[in-house]
């Protein structure tokens, strides 16, 4: 009896503290290599990171303050995963992979781009199971306006079975080359144009002769006349028995949330890159399959792990570990995150317009970079910070490395000066008492309270200024300085 009681006490004390099973696998992997893990991040940094990673937005001052008053992480993660922000984030990520773009080289054109994006948004809002999502893309037929998934087959000049099978292998298995024998599955796919501008109908060529047999997973498959030859591929690919399918997406989602794949690059699964830890990836794969391919549930488990909430600061012994297991990776804000954050802070939106077809279509003011959803529509700053051009379906086409032009833009660009000068927020805050204003700006830009030292350092700096620069321009300088700080530029 005593022993049982002791067991219960031990269980109650230790197990819940060491969070979930995922962390046990991660901790075991670290322990095996003798790498210590960094402590948990402070709540202010965590709330900012969670917002950015899940929704591509920095939190508002109110959202940060609410979390700091009541740091309920589960509620935070659940509300963000249920928010439109997470839908937008997924539409953006899949838009990159599906190369959704009006003009060259995808040439999907605006109507199809909009229809496809709407379809993706609906699917993610309903948390469509991932296997059903992929089947829907692969098995679509009909008008590219009415059955938007057919646009999966319309990205680019090359509409050959070889290209389709390469795309399917890359997107859904993370393989750089299609397996031998896949091409015949796509041999029936053909397009008919209609009288509507840029409408195309994907249909299955009934005259397609039976090709040499297709090969699937080492087995020969007979493709029967009168059937959709893509069917056997789609069924096998998305089945629970095909672990590689679940594994590829689990790894990709981990990379989206943690900054680096367990196998990296996350879309090169058979390129001979050793996983950081195979057991962790196996565990995520099992969980994903068991959940019935529930993307939100998989994201939730990763986001609630201790690994996700660790500090980005290294401790002695884990400095060299850049896998994200021992401390969270410090990556630059993505192009969309950065451009949108500056718009949110200044309340001056970037303006987007589509040039095809003429006359140009202007997006409503306030449209966010991650809502544009068309690789053709951009701004110079969005391009500058390495937004993917959607020419290829590789994750590496998002270029997050810093360069001199980007820093120059932040330090002294007319765009940022303009936003600060015209900002309604600056106008409003300039009327407030200095200390209040400084505190407000810190919360708004860095999502954390200002320290007393920071407030007095800024006050002191203002005293040394030419009187002409002390007022509102002084406060603009504070926003400018914080936007240029590493705390802002990197996801902490």
């Amino acid at each position: 009896m005593k022993r049982i009681l002791l067991c219960i006490i031990v269980y109650l004390v230790f197990l819940p503290a060491s969070a979930g099973e995922l962390d046990r696998y991660i901790d075991a992997a670290l322990a095996q290599k003798g790498i210590p893990s960094s402590p948990q991040s402070d709540p202010a940094r965590l709330v900012r990171r969670t917002f950015l990673v899940v929704t591509d937005r920095i939190p508002t001052s109110q959202q940060t303050a609410a979390y700091l008053r009541n740091p309920d992480r589960i509620a935070l993660v659940d509300s963000l995963l249920a928010s439109e922000g997470f839908v937008e984030k997924q539409v953006l990520k899949w838009g990159d992979l599906l190369r959704i773009k009006s003009e060259f080289p995808s040439c999907m054109w605006p109507n199809a781009v909009q229809a496809f994006n709407k379809w993706l948004g609906d699917a993610f809002r309903a948390n469509m199971p991932y296997d059903a999502f992929v089947r829907s893309l692969l098995l679509s037929t009909g008008s590219n306006f009415r059955v938007p998934q057919t646009n999966f087959y319309r990205a680019g000049n090359d509409r050959s079975p070889a290209k389709f099978s390469a795309d399917a292998a890359l997107l859904f298995l993370g393989r750089r080359k299609a397996p031998v024998g896949w091409e015949p599955f796509f041999a029936q796919v053909k397009f008919k144009s209609t009288k509507e501008w840029k409408e195309e109908i994907l249909c299955l060529n009934p005259d397609a002769e039976q090709k040499e047999q297709a090969i699937l997973d080492g087995r020969n498959i007979n493709l029967e006349p009168g059937t959709d030859w893509r069917q056997p591929l789609a069924e096998w690919l998305t089945s629970k028995q095909n672990r590689d399918f679940a594994r590829a997406f689990a790894n990709r989602l981990w990379a989206w949330l943690m900054g680096r794949g367990i196998i990296d690059p996350c879309d090169d699964m058979d390129g001979g890159h050793a996983p950081v830890d195979a057991a962790v990836l196996d565990y995520l794969t099992d969980r994903f399959i068991a959940s019935g391919f529930d993307v939100r549930a998989l994201a939730r488990e990763i986001l609630l792990s201790d690994a996700f909430s660790r500090s980005t600061l290294s401790v002695k012994g884990n400095e060299a570990d850049d896998t994200g297991f021992s401390h969270y990776r410090l990556d630059r804000l993505t192009s969309e995150q950065l451009c949108d954050a500056i718009c949110d802070i200044t309340e001056i939106p970037d303006l987007y317009s589509s040039r095809a077809p003429e006359p140009f279509t202007n997006f409503p003011a306030g449209t966010r970079a991650n809502q544009v959803c068309d690789g053709t529509i951009t701004t110079p700053q969005l391009d500058l910070f390495g937004r993917p051009s959607r020419d290829v379906a590789l994750e590496s086409s998002r270029d997050n490395t810093l360069d001199a032009k980007q820093i120059l833009y932040l330090l002294n660009s007319t765009v940022i000066q303009d936003k600060l000068t015209r900002s309604p927020y600056m106008k409003q805050i300039a009327g407030k008492d200095r200390t209040t204003a400084i505190k407000d700006i810190y919360m708004r830009v860095l999502s954390r309270p200002a320290t007393r030292e920071e407030i007095s350092a800024f006050q002191k700096w203002t005293q040394g200024l030419d009187p002409a620069f002390r007022g509102r321009r002084g406060l603009e300088s504070l926003v400018w300085a914080l936007i240029n700080s590493d705390e802002f530029l990197f996801v902490n």
């Binding site: 410090l330 391009d383 590496s396 330090l411 007319t414 030419d466 300088s477 914080l482």
Partner: protein, 425 residues
């Protein structure tokens, strides 16, 4: 095999030790939207009013036998300095495809998106280019019709100046803003330093360290001498007037100043050539601006001794329909036309006073010496010391041909060896 023979032939024609590597810089004046060949460098007065519209009387240039459009009066006086390419064709009437083909030379129609000429030159010259100013600059804003870096790093995209060259102050994004007082700029730099020390600690990853280094470097750009390269107010009024007091003219002037500073590639993006409607009304203005800007640039480069080391290229993504669309809704406009159009090249080892290629009586088809985009770029690359048969590193495919259409039938017709100078021994 065909390609190999072709290449050997081209190299023989060029002669050993030809103008390879003579040019240091390139100025590409891009007539965005597509300029009419018949109204500019390939007039066809005999085609009749349905073709010529009101530009019925082309003018004689200073080179006997070469006639150009009647509004290009200044350019007519210096035809000995440039060559007109009348055989240009890129086989498309779509802006986005024409733009891509013209800027990359790639007509293979494959799924690989190539870097633009400017990205390619910067990439090839990355090791030898030591200049605080960016290697590839666009005045004032690059088109975003395709990703100019192609499969290379975003770094190779052009640097956009932004701003208005013809304004009282030419604000150059990041480098100069007339509203920003230098004292405040300095003070802000100190503020950033102070607050960084007081802020939360940030892991010193290589990227974070790079950010710190780049900030220091950039302050040299901002507060150092580089912004003088963009300062047009140091030029005399007579010089500025000669280029034309409009954004295009002053952009050409800025391009000259950047070339003086050794910048590799400057694109002047001259917008407004997509004249489906009100063609002639708009052309009156565009052509006058083009005439003043380009002629002044060429003469100035020559005066400064820079024309031999600077290539000037003028043209857009295609030409325009020689036959005027008189019916509604165009009411006298010209449509897109990729089958035949004209380019102008000067300097850097290109001979002047010549015409290459010829179109039919109406300017609709090339009847002799077709010139494809790949031929133009192969010639420019060669003059800049870059082997057009060289490769470029693709992140997945490894080294691939940098100019894949060059030497391919139907996508290439050979380098412009007929106008590439052999330098004096």
């Amino acid at each position: 095999m065909k390609r190999a023979i072709f290449v050997v032939f081209a190299l023989l024609a060029l002669g050993a030790g030809a103008a390879f590597g003579q040019a240091r810089s390139l100025v590409y004046i891009y007539l965005d939207g597509g300029s009419s060949q018949t109204d500019t460098f390939d007039p066809k007065p005999e085609a009749g009013a349905n073709y010529t519209g009101k530009y019925k009387t082309p003018i004689q240039t200073n080179v006997p036998g070469i006639m150009i459009g009647e509004r290009l009066k200044h350019l007519a006086k210096i035809a000995d300095r440039y060559t007109i390419l009348r055989g240009m064709c890129d086989g498309t009437n779509a802006h986005e495809t024409g733009h891509y083909r013209m800027l990359t030379g790639d007509m293979t129609g494959k799924d690989i998106v190539y870097p633009s000429y400017g990205a390619m030159i910067s990439y090839k010259k990355a090791d030898s280019y030591n200049n605080p100013i960016f290697p590839y600059i666009c005045i004032t804003e690059a088109s975003t019709r395709f990703n100019e870096a192609g499969f290379l790093k975003a770094w190779y995209k052009p640097y956009d100046t932004g701003g208005k060259p013809d304004a009282a102050q030419f604000d150059v994004s990041g480098i100069y803003d007339h509203r920003m007082d230098d004292r405040l700029l300095q003070a802000r730099r100190e503020l950033l330093g102070t607050l960084t020390k007081l802020g939360k600690p940030v892991e010193q990853t290589p990227e974070v360290q790079k950010a710190a280094r780049l900030r220091e470097q950039n302050y040299e750009l901002i507060l150092g001498g580089v912004r003088e390269a963009f300062d047009l107010t140091t030029e005399s009024d007579s010089v500025r007037n000669a280029y034309g007091r409009n954004n295009f003219g002053q952009s050409c002037l800025a391009a000259r100043k950047l070339v003086e500073r050794g910048v590799l590639v400057v694109m002047v993006r001259f917008r407004g050539w997509d004249t489906h409607k009100e063609h002639f009304k708009r052309m009156d203005q565009r052509l006058d601006e083009l005439d003043a800007g380009v002629s002044s640039l060429i003469l100035d480069l020559e005066k400064d001794g820079l024309l031999d080391s600077t290539i000037v290229v003028v043209g857009g993504e295609f030409g325009r329909t020689p036959l005027i669309a008189f019916g509604p809704p165009w009411n006298g406009g010209r449509g897109h036309y990729g089958a035949a159009f004209s380019y102008l090249v000067a300097g850097g080892g290109f001979e002047g006073g010549r015409v290459v290629g010829e179109t039919d009586a109406k300017g609709e088809q090339v009847v002799s010496r077709k010139i494809y985009p790949a031929d133009l770029w192969a010639s420019v690359y060669t003059l800049m010391g870059i082997d057009p048969l060289g490769t470029v590193d693709h992140p997945v495919l490894g080294p691939i041909p940098m100019l894949p259409s060059y030497g391919k039938e139907g996508q290439s017709n050979g380098m412009l060896t007929e106008i590439m100078k052999v330098p004096q021994q």
